[in-house]
């Protein structure tokens, strides 16, 4: 498997490491200052890669502590407050400082201008600002953690967060608020870039689906993040200034907070998953050597998710005492929003049909994504049906459900994308076999960690419990064991990808023979992306140019 026949490593006339390297965006004389003041979208992408990786490991450390604590029923490793702080930290860091920025800001930043043949994003300085805002927000969150932590859960429900928690709620909320501006800045940049900077010849329906996914994601970011900003403002003014509008003693309604919060946070789930769908589409088409099945359907599905996703937030509140008719409406819309996701799954599978499939690490991750996303999506239907949700709401079933989407889905997709574009980003090839092993290990470890949690939820284990009845222990032990494997699988890429930076083989411009403009320039790309104007010919995903099957150059 390690010997991929068509991966042409040394192409004539393009001696890697020579002239090209010096002209690349990496090649300038290295100085910390030049990196910290860069407005080059590719370098900002790398800055984001470093910062999100850091946050991923902070959040991962918290997850490790959670799983260790839950190994035994008694609350013995951490104190109850300690445990509450750890899961809050895990949620806050993973949601706002890893999952939301990771694909749009790392891969999106790097690839969107390349994919549409532009020299940069529309607002390069705003782009740099967005990274600094993200770091500043993260600093606040980490500062809150170091100075004693916060224990409200990432959802900040009132009145606990406003009147009862004695921890650093305001500091954390301010951190999240600031990172919201970073999200908005990225969203504005992406939308304006896609609208105004496409070259002649690339109409809307000739864009790569990854660009479409980032576009749809940016729409959601722009329309939902401001509401989060407002709800956090109200939370902080209530805590710090006494301007309380959620305080029940004044007739304020804590449920209003939940409405405003989920008006952001449910669409935010789609902020986290749509970019992953974009990555997976690119990867599956490339390694199946097939044109994507149902391009238009894929686009409409993305947009449908982005739009309908705004009208389902009430399904987080079936147990809050909201009216039955409200619940049923939200339930119905939640079923409807699942339809476009299902269409995408079928389209990915149909893309593989009659393909020439190879199994590079990216492809393994992408196939894992399709399977895990399917399971995560289907268990979403359980939670969308009101009577079943009354049982499963706020149990480990929910925890398992969204980890299947976020970790099984989004993190797999991120690794698929990171491996796929690693040669483009760094100019180096990663060791394929090691990567394939890591991908399989991640799939196995993930399922062992989170599948038992479905069972736990079904037998009634509530979320955010520091200690639990003995009867639940078997499943928790399985889950913790899986987490160990998962942790190892996450450390592997850190090892071999860093290794490849120094000892990896030099990559040619198009190691996977993929379509797409980003592969028409050097690996790594020159400072202004393209030395000559990229050619836009045929449609995207032109893996099947002739009207009949084209045999790849024979591999005997």
């Amino acid at each position: 498997m390690s010997d991929i026949p068509y991966r042409d490593v040394d192409v004539d006339g393009e001696k890697p490491g020579g002239r090209l390297m010096e002209e690349s965006y990496l090649g300038e004389r290295f100085s910390i200052w030049s990196w910290l003041t860069t407005t080059d979208h590719k370098r900002i992408g790398i800055l984001y890669l470093i910062s999100t990786t850091l946050f991923f490991f902070i959040g991962g450390a918290a997850a490790t502590m959670i799983r260790l604590e839950l190994f035994t029923p008694a609350g013995d490793l951490l104190t109850d407050d300690g445990y509450n702080k750890v899961f809050t930290l895990h949620g806050v860091v993973m949601v706002w400082f890893f999952l939301v920025p990771v694909i749009p800001s790392v891969l999106g930043n790097f690839l969107v201008p390349l994919m549409i043949g532009a020299k940069d994003l529309a607002f390069p300085r705003l782009n740099l600002l967005s990274w600094y805002l993200n770091i500043l927000g993260g600093t606040f969150a980490v500062w809150a953690m170091l100075s004693g932590g916060v224990d409200t859960g990432w959802t900040f429900y009132t009145p606990y967060s406003t009147a009862f928690a004695n921890t650093h709620v305001s500091l954390t909320a301010i951190g999240v608020f600031i990172s919201g501006f970073s999200t908005i800045a990225t969203g504005v940049n992406m939308i304006v870039t896609v609208h105004t900077m496409r070259p002649p010849g690339m109409g809307w329906f000739r864009m790569p689906l990854f660009v479409w996914a980032i576009y749809a994601t940016s729409l959601i970011m722009l329309l939902s993040t401001p509401v989060l900003a407002m709800v956090l403002t109200l939370l902080v003014t209530e805590r710090l200034l006494g301007l309380g509008i959620f305080d029940p003693n004044r007739g304020g309604d804590p449920i209003l907070f939940q409405h405003l919060f989920w008006f952001y946070s449910h669409p935010a789930v789609y902020i986290m998953i749509l970019p992953g769908m974009g990555v997976v589409t690119e990867v599956i088409t490339c390694f199946s050597r097939r044109r994507v099945f149902g391009y238009a359907a894929m686009v409409y599905a993305l947009l449908a998710i982005a739009v309908i996703g705004f009208f389902v937030w009430g399904h987080h509140m079936f147990t809050s005492g909201q009216s039955m008719y409200a619940s049923l409406t939200f339930s119905f819309l939640s079923f409807i929003v699942a339809v476009p996701s299902a269409i995408k799954v079928f389209n990915w599978i149909a893309t593989m049909y009659r393909g020439q499939i190879t199994f590079e690490a990216s492809m393994l991750y992408a196939m894992g994504f399709v399977g895990l996303f399917t399971m995560g999506g289907l268990t979403g239907l359980f939670l969308a049906s009101v009577p079943v949700d009354l049982h499963l709401h706020d149990t480990y079933f929910v925890v398992a459900h969204f980890h299947y989407i976020m970790v099984g889905g989004m993190v797999s997709a991120f690794f698929a994308g990171l491996h796929f574009w690693w040669p483009k980003i760094t100019g180096r090839l990663y060791p394929e076999t090691a990567a394939q092993i890591a991908a399989l290990l991640m799939f196995f470890g993930f399922n062992l960690t989170f599948f038992p949690q479905y069972i736990l939820g079904n037998i009634g284990m509530p979320r955010r419990y520091h200690a639990y009845p003995d009867a639940f222990q078997v499943w928790h032990v399985l889950s913790s064991a899986g987490a160990v494997i998962l942790a190892a699988a996450y450390l592997m890429p850190l090892g071999y990808l860093v290794w490849s930076l120094i000892w990896g083989k030099r990559a040619p411009s198009n190691p996977w023979r993929a379509s797409g403009l980003e592969w028409q320039t050097g690996s790594p790309p020159p400072k202004h992306n393209f030395l000559a104007n990229p050619k836009i010919e045929g449609s995207v995903y032109d893996y099947h140019p002739a009207q009949q099957p084209r045999r790849e150059p024979s591999d005997d």
Binding site: D151, Y160, A163, N249, V339, L381, G460
Partner: protein, 314 residues
């Protein structure tokens, strides 16, 4: 390591029908997962690079039709599941002929229950089997959630709101009670048990409880001690509405609205008297928010309710 639990007992009628939905969903999603996984596996093997499988191009009409077919099929399936699940909501929404009310107050970090006869318990709830029981839930501080897995039901307990949870008990036994909404430091210690007993045993249990004032008695004392009687009783100087017969009746308000005086109304009138002022009276009553605990509010409401009963009985 304790016994391994896989199947939950189903102790209410709702639990039985929820389990039906759960199994149905499990079968449907299991089949879909199987379909997706086997197609992925099949294509991965059959169309691996260099295999001998045929790769002739699909005609365009075929992909379009296929796309339409599976879109419609998914919509149909999902809407059907929705309708099936929703039918249970409608069935549950029908109010029962009669039900037994038990007041439950959630506070950090315990559950306090008060039976109609005034018996109280903490972190335990005894209920008779074969009865429809309605829990009236209030919170004294933050949001909690009353969750009994064996009932397949949970209901958030929200400060400032009165929420209700109705169930019909079927199977006797002792079941776990959890707080399902994160409520602070000892959230995971806010647990207890619900005991569903045969009717005779329940009656027996009630008699064995220490003699406590019942809710109405309690409320009557509070009505005097907290100063309500000063205005709302007898021939006091202050013009305030008399409360006999108010409960359950239609009350005209000063802004022209008419409301039914139910538990929520009584509660709101005590905590936020300026909100719904009765027509013909001045808004002079002070708020008792903070001056009364949730338990005291429940007792006062029970007393005012009892005034209506004596009135109509007369």
């Amino acid at each position: 390591m304790g016994e391994v639990e896989l199947v939950l007992p189903a102790a209410t009628s709702a639990a039985v029908s929820t389990d039906g939905k759960l199994v149905g969903l499990l079968v449907i999603s299991g089949l879909i997962t199987l379909l997706v996984a086997s197609l992925l596996g099949l294509f991965a093997v059959r169309f691996r690079r260099g295999s001998k499988a045929g790769r002739s191009r699909l005609p365009n009409w075929f992909s379009r039709e296929l796309e339409t077919v599976w879109t419609l099929a998914t919509v149909g399936l999902f809407v059907a599941i929705f309708a099936w699940a929703a039918s249970q909501d409608f069935a549950l929404a029908v109010p029962p002929a009669r039900s037994m009310e038990i007041h439950v107050v959630g506070k950090q970090w315990m559950w306090k229950a008060e039976h109609p006869g005034g018996q109280r318990e903490i972190n335990e709830l005894h209920v008779p089997a074969g009865e429809t029981i309605e829990l009236v839930l209030n919170s004294q501080d933050v949001i909690h959630s009353f969750y009994v897995p064996a009932f397949r039901l949970k209901q958030d307990v929200v400060p400032g709101h009165t929420t209700r949870m109705r169930f019909h008990t079927e199977k006797t036994g002792t079941y776990r009670l959890f707080c399902a909404e994160y409520c602070g430091t000892q959230h995971s210690a806010m647990i207890g048990r619900v005991v569903v007993m045969a009717k005779e045993d329940y009656a027996d249990w009630l008699t064995r409880q220490p003699e406590g004032d019942d809710l109405e008695e309690d409320g009557k004392k509070l009505f005097v001690s907290k100063g309500c009687a000063g205005c709302h009783y007898g021939s006091s100087q202050v013009r305030a509405p008399r409360l006999a017969g108010v409960y359950g009746s239609k009350v005209p308000l000063s802004d022209g609205r008419v409301v039914t005086a139910d538990d929520d109304y009584v509660r709101d009138s005590i905590l936020q008297p300026k909100r719904d002022v009765v027509a013909g009276f001045a808004p002079i009553m002070p708020s008792f928010a903070g001056a009364l605990t949730e338990g005291e509010l429940v007792s006062l409401t029970a007393y005012i309710r009892s005034l209506a009963v004596t009135e109509t009985a007369r």
